[in-house]
Each structure stands twice: as C-alpha cells, then as structure tokens.
Symmetry: C2
Subunit: 146 residues, 2 copies
DNA sequence: TACAATGTCGACCAGATTAGTCGTGAATCC
DNA sequence: GGATTCACGACTAATCTGGTCGACATTGTA
C-alpha cells in the first residue's frame, strides 16, 4: 500500500476546509464529524499540515483551522508528500531522488512509474476535488428528485 | 512504499533463473550469492513463486529451480502480484477491484494511477529485464576496455 | 544402503509502522 | 475565572517486514 490513511484523511480535511473557506475558522470536531474521521487522530494530521504551511489555526472560542492559500493552488502531490513523506513506490527510488545512488537493474521501471504518478498528482488541486464532490452531490440530488 | 523487498528480490531471482535457463536447475545458494540476497529469505520467495507456477523445483544433489515458462511470457505484473498481493496504492482501490464498493470521493484518482501502473507492468517481461541487464553489462565492458 | 546435497515447511523473532487514544497544557474569548 | 479550542507528546495494540533457524523430505551417488 503506497498510501496510509494519513494521506486520505488529510486530503478529506483540506477538502472540508476548502468548502468552508471564507466562513472563518472551521473546528476540528466539525471536520471530524462531517468527514468521518477520528478527531484525535485528525489532530496529528492538522498539526503536520500547519507545520508545512497549508493551514493556519487559532485557539479559543470561535477558533479553528483555515487554508492559507486558494484551493486551486494546493496540489494533491504537495499535500500527500507533506503527510506521507516520499511517494516513491520502492525505497531505492526514494533515496535516488534525494541524492542516493545504488539501485538494482529494475529501478528504471519504478522511477518511470514514480514520475508518471507525480505528474498526475501535480495536476490535481484541492479545488478540483471540491468541484468533483459538488458535481457528485448535484447528481445525487437530481437523481433523488426524479 | 508500494513494494517491499519481496517483489524486488523475487524479480531478481527470476532474472537469474532466466539468464541460466536451459542449463538445468539453478541452486538457491547460487541465486542468493549472485543477486546478493539472504538465502533463507529467498527460500520463502521461491516457495511462493513455485506455488503460483512460475518455477519448478527439484530436490537432491544437482537439484534446484527452473522457470516453467519462457522469460518473455512472464510479466512483471504477474510476478509482483504473486509476491506482494495487490499493488493497489490504497486499500479502498484494492477492495473495489475485487468486488468491494465503498470509496471516498478521491478514489478515482488512485484508480487511475493504479490502472496506469498495471498497464505499464504488464508490458514488461522478465526477458526484457534480462536483455536490459545484458546491455548494461556490455556497456560496462566496452567502457572498461577503452 | 548410507550419506551428502538439496529443497520444504513452519515456528520464531526483533524492529518498524500504522492507527489510533489520552492527558496535560497553552491561548483566547467572554 | 471559566469555557472553548488548539498543541503536543506519551503511550499502546495490532500488523507488517525482513529476516533466522531447525526439523524433515527427497534424490543422486559411492
Ligand atoms: S534495488 Fe531498487 S529496484 Fe531493485
Ligand atoms: S477512501 Fe479510498 S480514496 Fe478515500
């Protein structure tokens, strides 16, 4: 498994923040409830996202979390690398891409797959995921109203 | 990390067997030495490869392991799925592809990446990896002789 | 037939990772 | 001062990884 729940949960959280952008800070408990995440685990993910500058948090009553950038400027690649570390499919590729050297004769295969994946993920933003979700909601409503 | 050492080691072992195909059974100890693998760990991988019909083994003096098919008919995808199980980048995709259903709104991203990767891996055979390795060896020799 | 070579199988193990929980404390607002 | 909310680190149970080891089965050869 390339991704743990961290990446998935973290992206879900950012989508939630993006959907409520401009409405002031969003609370951990609301994100957790709406996105079905364990709240105290989400805490760790938000901490990491904050450290890497994706969100800003405020304490006290009425506090919560907000995006620091426009959703369209947050790529899935950036989020996932923040939460998961390297997305390299195998150890040697991860090391190679930060200066290492030793690989066996198959590593070109994995390097290719890695490059493809990064390119894909770099082309998808949180804004697009929000739009995707909205479209899905509209479709569900339309279906129900018929 | 999508792949553990199992996949990498197993592919290395099959490359070794392919390189010595037609010369009778190849012994575990020889594979381990040539490919720099821990012999007793390699044992497990060979067992799995045997169970899935990639190799046949014979005991006793002069025994060892051999491929059951031509190297050009063994895809990297098949080998890796034998040794690693599903290569799905995230759990929900693995379940979806064997009949499950529940996914969150991002799973289409991972499904796409998964499909790409499988297609790539299906197009690479052990024979090609052997050829790749031979080309590399020739290049090294040429470089040395200059 | 005895023995050596070889594969087969399962038990066992230490360390890392995953997916959390919990408690204490700090900031903020009222 | 008290309520609310985030911040941070300690702790944990379960699982996975990357092995090792020992007992045993099979086969070729002297
Ligand atoms: S060591 Fe990286 S592919 Fe083999
Ligand atoms: S649950 Fe599979 S991508 Fe979110």
């Amino acid at each position: 498994m390339l991704l743990s729940t961290k990446g998935d949960y973290g992206v879900r959280a950012l989508i939630d923040l993006a959907k409520h952008a401009g409405e002031g800070p969003v609370q951990r408990s609301d994100i957790a409830r709406r996105r079905q995440l364990p709240e105290s685990y989400l805490d760790h993910l938000l901490a990491q996202l904050r450290r890497d500058g994706f969100i800003r948090s405020t304490r006290g009553p009425g506090g919560g979390h907000e995006l620091t950038r426009a959703p369209a400027e947050i790529t899935l690649l950036a989020v996932l690398e923040c939460l998961e570390g390297s997305l390299a499919p195998i150890g040697c590729v991860a090391e190679a891409n930060r200066g290492g050297e030793s690989m066996c004769g198959q590593s070109w295969v994995w390097q290719g797959i890695y490059d493809d994946m990064r390119k894909r993920l770099e082309g998808i933003t949180i804004a697009e995921l929000v739009e995707h979700e909205r479209a899905h909601e509209r479709a569900a409503v339309a279906n129900y109203s018929i």
